[in-house]
């Protein structure tokens, strides 16, 4: 997979709430497919299907050893996806901070006297 295909697979994998929940579960430690299926009220084949998508995205890996074949979370692809979103966020955050400043200026009546009350008193004097 090219880096962009990798990122694509990561985003697709993260788009599903069940897969996000599986990742959250795996953050507490590795687990077998059976253990993963338990809290989700979905079948073991359904969990296996989700795991395949997560595995293709490189977000989880399965140990080849033993019959239990525990599933483990892999952080690197998620980090790439998050880093990209952070760059995107930064672009908009900076632009919007500039817009905040502009909106503030636009809402300040520049042509109005700076201290109207005092000036009016002066005019009257």
């Amino acid at each position: 997979m090219t880096p962009s295909e990798q990122l694509d697979a990561t985003f697709i994998a993260l788009a599903d709430p069940t897969r996000r929940a599986i990742l959250v579960r795996l953050m507490t430690g590795e687990a077998s497919v059976n253990e993963l299926a338990e809290p989700f009220a979905i079948s073991q084949p359904a969990v296996s299907k989700h795991l395949k998508i997560l595995e293709r995205a490189g977000l989880v890996s399965r140990s080849a050893d033993g019959t239990r074949r525990p599933v483990k979370i892999e952080a690197a692809p998620m980090k790439d996806a998050v880093d990209w979103l952070e760059k995107y966020r930064k672009f908009w955050e900076i632009s919007y901070q500039r817009l905040d400043a502009l909106l503030e200026i636009l809402q300040t009546p520049v042509n109005a006297p700076e201290k109207p009350k005092k000036q009016r008193t002066d005019d009257n004097a």
């Binding site: 962009s4 909106l103 636009l106």
Partner: protein, 160 residues
Amino acid sequence: MPKPLTITTPGDRQIVIVRAFEAPRDLVFLCYSKPELLRLWYGMPDWTMPICEIDFRVGGKWRFLTRSPDGFEMGSKGIYTLIDRPMQIDQTETYDDNWTGGQTTNSVAFTEKDSVTTSTTTVTYATAEMRAAAAASPMATGMEIGFKRLDATLAELQAK
């Protein structure tokens, strides 16, 4: 202070950016539709915007060119497909070097409540592959940032 900006990626083709502004909706709308205002806030502060042309009507074209301090240029253009003043602006967007693999459709919706205007920008790519291509683009790499936010995202996921 307005709530911080949020970015989400619902589905596999969209990016949604939400931000609140302490200003009336009419004014925020103007800042998106008048080139002389838009060029004052769009993009990095140390970049210049040699071209900012907006023909603000349905079917009208827009064209931006931004330039980094070391001369790197990034241009984009598109057509306004819907203008519902002051509630919504839809437009197409294509980058000059086509690094998104084609055109995106961008929709900006404005809502106002208690003198705070919230803008919701939905960028829709033609395919999931296009969104990923954008991620590997000069826009992403050109926008300096090295934040390691995995921890924050993991925490976010955990809070769900």
